[in-house]
Every structure is written in C-alpha cells, then in structure tokens.
Symmetry: C2
C-alpha cells in the first residue's frame, strides 16, 4: 500500500503520538528516529514535515521537532469546533442515512448499551468510537468525516486516560439512545441539539475531559 518509506513511517509516528506513547513536548530527534526505523534522515524529515502541517508535530526552525504541545485554551477551542462538527454530522445524518446504515447504527448502540451496567471503560471507549464513526459516515459528507476524524486524532494525545466516573457509561449510553432515535426518525434539528449537548463544552463531557488533563497544562502555553 504505502509505496515509500516515508509513507510507512508517517502512520507509525502518528499512532505513537495519538496513543500517547510519545507525549506532548517530546523531542523528535531525526537521527534517533532514522536509526529506529532503519532509514536515513530524509524520509524521517518528510514524515515530520507532514505531521507538522496536520498539527501533531511542531517544528521550530533550526531547533528541531517536538510533539505538539498545546494550551488549555487551544484545547477548549478545538473542543468547541469538534462539538459543532459532530452536531453537523448528526444533522446531515438524520437527513441522509440509508436503511443499511440505520441498521448498523442500531446495532452499534445495542453493543454500547450492553455495557451500561458495567464499568468496562476500555471496551466502551472502542464501541463508543464505532458508534460515532457510523454517524460521521451517515452524514454522507466525506470531507466532513475526514475533518472530524482528524480533529479527534489531534485531540486524543491530550487525554491521558479515559474518563472513569461511575455511571458515566450509563449516562452516555442513554444520550446515545435518544440521539440514535432522532437520527433514525430523520429529526435533524433534534439530532443536532442532542449531539451538541452530548459533546458540549458546557456539559459533563468536557469537564470530564479537563479533569483528565496532565498537570503540565495548568501552567504553560506555547
């Protein structure tokens, strides 16, 4: 698939950043990475350049690359946009979702809901992602889908761990229930509103998110 070395290296590096294996602020030494991947510096530089455009890496001229460190303010801003784009997805999905997609969405919700009683956060995290992915897809706007996914990827390195508040799964799942119903019923306005609340910057979700922030966010700013 990936024909060039750079194209193979890029997703690996990206994954390491997104999953938090490489934390924000970490220096990305070209020579070290080159050795690690068994290539010369050239393809490494290519990958880092691309990552810098997408915002995951920050390149300071003549001073090397680091995993992008962003401020709480930036994070709130990104979350605000994320909520809006997700709401747009829901609105469009309510208008454009196909019967097959309805079925898949229902199934994804059932899977999520099965964990309602439990505190199985890791598994819920995955199933929750899948449900949201289905909503993005159902918007039938591939550009929007790509933007939302990229933004989510960009946010993910900044959650150190998933929210682990008792009862959160149940609450989230109930919100999903209403949202899924609105989308399937074709109620665009309701789907949009429910999504806004679900991801809202004022709501629990974001507070939860802030609560999981590593302490270094409380001081510095890029």
């Amino acid at each position: 698939m990936a024909t060039s070395r750079a194209n193979e290296i890029l997703p690996v590096l990206e994954q390491d950043i997104v999953t938090g294996k490489l934390t924000p602020g970490t220096r990305l030494d070209e020579t070290v990475l080159a050795e690690k991947f068994g290539v010369s510096r050239t393809p490494i530089r290519e990958a880092l350049n691309r990552l810098s455009t997408s915002g995951l890496v920050e390149i300071r001229p003549r001073r090397g690359a680091i995993v992008a460190a962003i401020s709480v303010q930036d994070l709130m801003n990104m979350f605000e946009v994320m909520a809006d784009l997700e709401a747009l997805c829901a609105r469009l999905a309510a208008r454009r979702i196909t019967p097959a997609e309805k079925e898949a969405l229902r199934a994804a919700h059932v899977d999520c809901h099965a964990l309602s009683g439990t505190e199985n956060f890791d598994e819920y995290y995955v199933l929750n992602l899948r449900l949201h992915d289905l909503l993005y897809k159902a918007s039938h706007n591939s550009f929007l889908e790509k933007q939302v996914c990229e933004l989510r990827r960009r946010l993910s390195p900044h959650r150190r761990l998933q929210v682990r508040i008792p009862g959160r799964i149940l609450a989230s799942s109930n919100e999903h229930g209403a949202l899924v119903k609105a989308v399937i019923d074709g109620d665009a306005a309701l789907a949009e509103k429910l999504t806004r609340n679900h991801v809202a910057i004022q709501g629990e979700r974001f507070t939860d998110f802030l609560a999981t922030l590593p302490s270094h966010y409380l001081q510095a700013s890029a």
Copy 2:
C-alpha cells in the same frame, strides 16, 4: 522571518495555487520548480509535502505532484462544512465580540455598503473578505479562525472568477447588514441563522459558485 528556503517557497507556491496561477491538475515538476526558485530539489519536496497534507497538492506515489483536483461532490461537501463553521463563528462572535471589534465590524460593513449601488466586484470581493475575517476574529476561537481561513484558501483555487451577477452586491450587503446587527446585538441564534442563509448551500451563493466552475469539473473525479 522564514528562516529556511522551504519556508520561503511554501507560501509562494500556495499563493500561486490559491490565486489560480497554477490551476488544478497542473503538474508540479520538482526539477523545474527547483530551478525556478534557485534551490535544490530538497526544499521543493519539503514544500510540496506540506502542501499535500493541507490538501492543496496531491502527491501520487512515484508519479509526482499535481495541484489538487477535486470533484464537484468534494466541493459541495467542503462548502457545506464552510457554511457550518462560518455559522459557528457568527454564533460565538455574537456572544464574545468586544466593543472595539463591534466598531471595526460596523466600519467594514459601511465600506461594503458603499459599493451597494455599483458593480465593482473586485473591490467588493476584498471588502467582503475583510468583513468575514473580522467575524472570524470576533469568535475569539483562534483554532476555529484558522480552520475557516484554511478551508477558504482551499476553496479559492476553484472559483475561476468572482460572481458577477447584477444586484448581487446589494443583496449580499443587505444580508451583511442584518448579520452585523445580530452580532452586535448579541443575538447568537439569529446571527447563526443569517450566516447559514448567507453562505447556504441551498441559497444563491452556492449556485453562483457552481456557475463559475471551470468546465472540467463536470466530468472527472479524483
């Protein structure tokens, strides 16, 4: 400012694409560009790589780079997202705009409105941009502002010329009037709604936009 050659070349290339000097589909030969800029291929490749991530350039493995050619479907998708992000800007601006920004917005509208009677499309284009930029800024969400601007840049190479329909300036300016008032009055819901209509995919604006599309959009797809 731009310390490296690549950092100097990137904006030039970007500008050439955005302004339509380099049209979608044009091959970007590394050697030719290297000669033109008086550098080796290395910084050229760096710039092209970065442009590929932001979507202005498409790099096909082993087959070189071209100015990104996108389908009408993609364009409609991007416009749909653009409308939504602009609406978000307006909503946030209505809540967060400062007195100084109100004044600037009013002034920008006055400038726009001065051209209402005329058919001075070129000048109106610039003033219209300025007014919208002020709205982005007034959202006080720098990430959102950046996203909207980038999306606009990405859309711009695909309008061959500005819409030149008689009376369009007057209509646009009137819409601005209502929008500016809503923002200044702090009516977020109205500001959002007016913006949606102003940029709406269903509305005149997008139809105008489609009408200016170069003919090659009518056939192919990437």
